[in-house]
Amino acid sequence: MRKAIAILLLAIVGYYFINVFIHMPFGEKREGVGKYYLENTVKETGAANVVTAIVVSYRGFDTLGEVTVLFLAATGLGAILFGKRGEKRRLQGASVIVKTTSMMLYPMVVLLGAYVFVHGHLTPGGGFQGGAIIATGVLLMFMSYRHFNVSHNALTWIESLAGLTFATVGLIGLALGTTFLQNFLPLGTPNDLVSAGIIPIIYIAVGFKVGAELTGVLDNMLKTIR
């Protein structure tokens, strides 16, 4: 019964979907803001990667919100799972080979993550991807070492300071008499590491923050006792 209703409902939704999307042009050029960004990004922001420029500069406000959403998820998880934390972990650590490999991989993964977010304005990737990579590295250690622990204090500090950096960079723009998140640094030459004004600063802050938050999420879930 429930299934029949669901299928009927989905059939209606699907019918409309197909009707709408069958007329939607695929793979054609479109007039609109996208075109403007492609033509003006390098000139206006100094970033070679247009997507990064949009994410951090033109629509930087979205990114602030996005960071907030992750922060919120970490906070919310902390609140929901509060009081369920325990130290009961897997009885047996991983084998020596796994341990050694992870020990060697861990710094490299973290470095890779850092590389990705530092070069966010030049190559694909940025704060979110870099932060996620770092969190994966930490996860590797969680998996192979029984007693591997991240300091909660450190996580809180990194999260808050990175968030405050982002917000402060935004407020500096406002304080200088322009607008929130306005660029106030020289743009430099495109494709240089130090270029694109405040974009790298914001993306590095985002990288740290996302890394810390995702680690916090993993830590919260892993340490929950069943």
Binding site: Y16, F17, N19, V20, H23, M24, R30, E31, G32, V33, G34, K35, Y36, Y37, E44, S57, Y58, R59, G60, F61, D62, L64, G65, E66, T68, V69, F71, L72, A73, T75, G76, L77, G78, A79, I80, F82, G83, N153, T156, W157, E159, S160, L161, G163, L164, A167, G170, L171, G173, L174, A175, T178, T179, F180, L181, Q182, N183
Partner: protein, 486 residues
């Protein structure tokens, strides 16, 4: 530094990032921070409100002109509703000060601050995708707050809310996508000018997606299944947050989009129809409830139905009446939730039955509940009277007697169950001596609300003079487009 509308979003966010660090120093600092934030925002409201009433303030973010950058639109309607959010937020903080004693207190205030960020963001933003982001911030904070007590029912209510909320955001995101694919822009004002680029079929689909997506947040029938559980299982101040802030922001978003893009007679008729359904079904359901907070939740849905009817009529008079009603409802429902929170706490039971005799044992809290109940029914001399009267007058002017009668029916049902609860409260019965007292901060919070309700009831002019510009701002799409694109 001049006060700029972006601070409504940035300051609570800044506070949310700061709270964990303050928590390392002292708990009292954590508890005080939101209060300072709200005081600062109110100061901002005092500065900006009169300006916004004359001319909308459009603020760009990141220094790019709309439609290329994200812009914030602080018009008369947004100013009105944001002022409401600051007032309600402040009293909710005051009430929470002694009410939330369960750990993790820091996380409670962080979630609360981020929820305020999300709601002011929804009210302010002039960008469609940005609104999605703020919608998600608001909803995720709301899910977490619903489950804050970490009991069985709280987690269940939160999960249910999350499921429905995810559908809401998915639908909204799909509508953003279809609009973007045809118009190539995300700015509300820009889209409104190019809305005819969308073929009729896709336009209809977008309308449905927006109504479903935002209707869930605005508690429109039949998408309000989450509300009664979430209201009743969350801590009481959070119930006030939902009724006073989250729902209002969702409704504003829905109405803003509908009025800008889809304002045709059929759509307005449909809104009226849905409003009537919401009103009657919710009031009927409220009548059958035995738990006080569930009753309040259904009554809140009913009130939203009333507001949707008034908005659907779409005249100047009815729109300003709807805004007035939103304002009153936010304040009165918060008062009712506050009072109910302590009544439940004192009697140790959520059932209306068990409130018997509390009116003599806890006179002050019960008195505030009674004030709220009488105000929401729409009795003079309280503020609820004026907004309900204005709605009825505007409906009568529009010449629809059937709607008038239906609204009256809804109001009568509402009056019956509220009076029933109040009578129960004042039925004399021996209650065991109860040493628990309502803390002073809770009483002050309720006192402030009751005072505002009474004051506005006696001098409705203080609010009424702002309603015309606010309603005009909501109705007049051409002005919005002109201001939004400068």
């Amino acid at each position: 530094m001049e006060f700029s509308p972006v601070l409504y979003i940035a300051i609570p966010l800044f506070a949310a990032f700061l709270i964990p660090l303050l928590g390392k120093v002292s708990k009292t600092l954590v508890k005080l921070t939101p209060g300072i934030v709200f005081l600062y925002l109110s100061y901002g409201s005092i500065l900006l409100f009169p300006k916004a009433m004359e001319k909308p303030i459009v603020q760009v973010v990141a220094g790019f002109k709309p439609p290329f950058g994200i812009s914030l639109y602080y018009g008369a309607t947004a100013a009105f509703l944001i002022t409401m959010v600051t007032i309600v937020g402040f009293v909710i903080w005051l009430y929470s000060y002694k009410f939330i004693i369960r750990e993790p207190i820091e996380k409670y205030y962080m979630l609360f601050m981020m929820l305020i960020t999300g709601s002011t963001g929804i009210l302010l933003t002039g960008d469609m995708f940005n609104m999605f982001v703020f919608l998600e911030i608001t909803s995720i904070a709301a899910y977490s707050l619903t489950a804050f007590l970490r009991d069985k029912d709280g987690a269940e209510a939160a999960f249910k809310y999350l499921l429905i909320g995810s559908f809401s955001s998915t639908f909204y995101l799909l509508s953003v996508m279809i609009i973007y694919s045809y118009t190539g822009t995300l700015n509300f004002a820009d889209i409104a000018g190019k809305i005819d680029l969308i073929p009729p079929m896709a336009k209809g689909f977008v309308l449905v997606l927006v109504l479903v997506g935002m209707g869930i947040e605005a508690e429109m029938f039949p998408l309000n299944g989450w509300a009664p559980d979430a209201y009743s299982q969350a801590p009481s101040p959070v119930g006030a947050v939902f009724g006073g802030i989250v729902v209002k922001a969702g409704l504003y978003a829905m109405i803003r989009i509908v009025f800008l893009f889809f304002k045709t007679p059929e759509v307005m008729q449909f809104l009226i129809f849905m409003g009537i359904l919401t009103l009657l079904i919710a009031e009927m359901a409220a009548m059958r409830q035995h738990q006080i907070k569930r009753m309040l939740a259904f009554s809140s849905i009913g009130q939203m139905g009333l507001v949707i009817i008034a908005l659907g009529i779409g005249t100047m008079g009815s729109t300003s009446a709807a805004l007035f009603q939103m304002f009153n409802h936010a304040l009165i429902k918060s008062l009712l939730f506050f009072a109910a929170g302590y009544l439940v706490f004192h009697s140790g039971s959520k059932q209306i039955e068990d409130l018997e005799g509390l009116g003599y044992d806890k006179p002050v809290t019960s008195f505030f509940f009674a004030v709220g109940a009488l105000a929401i029914i729409g009795l003079p001399p309280f503020s609820g009277f004026w907004s309900k009267l204005l709605i009825l007058v505007s409906v009568a002017k529009a010449g629809d007697i059937a709607i008038l009668l239906l609204i009256l029916t809804g109001s009568v049902i509402e009056a019956i169950y509220y009076l029933r609860a109040v009578v129960k409260l004042y039925t004399r019965k021996e209650v065991p001596d109860n040493v628990r007292r309502t803390p002073i901060s809770g009483l002050v919070a309720m006192g402030i609300l009751a005072a505002i309700i009474l004051y506005v009831g006696l001098y409705p002019g203080v609010i009424e003079k702002w309603l015309a510009p606010a309603a005009n701002n909501l109705l007049n799409a051409a002005d919005y487009i002109k201001a939004g694109l400068f």
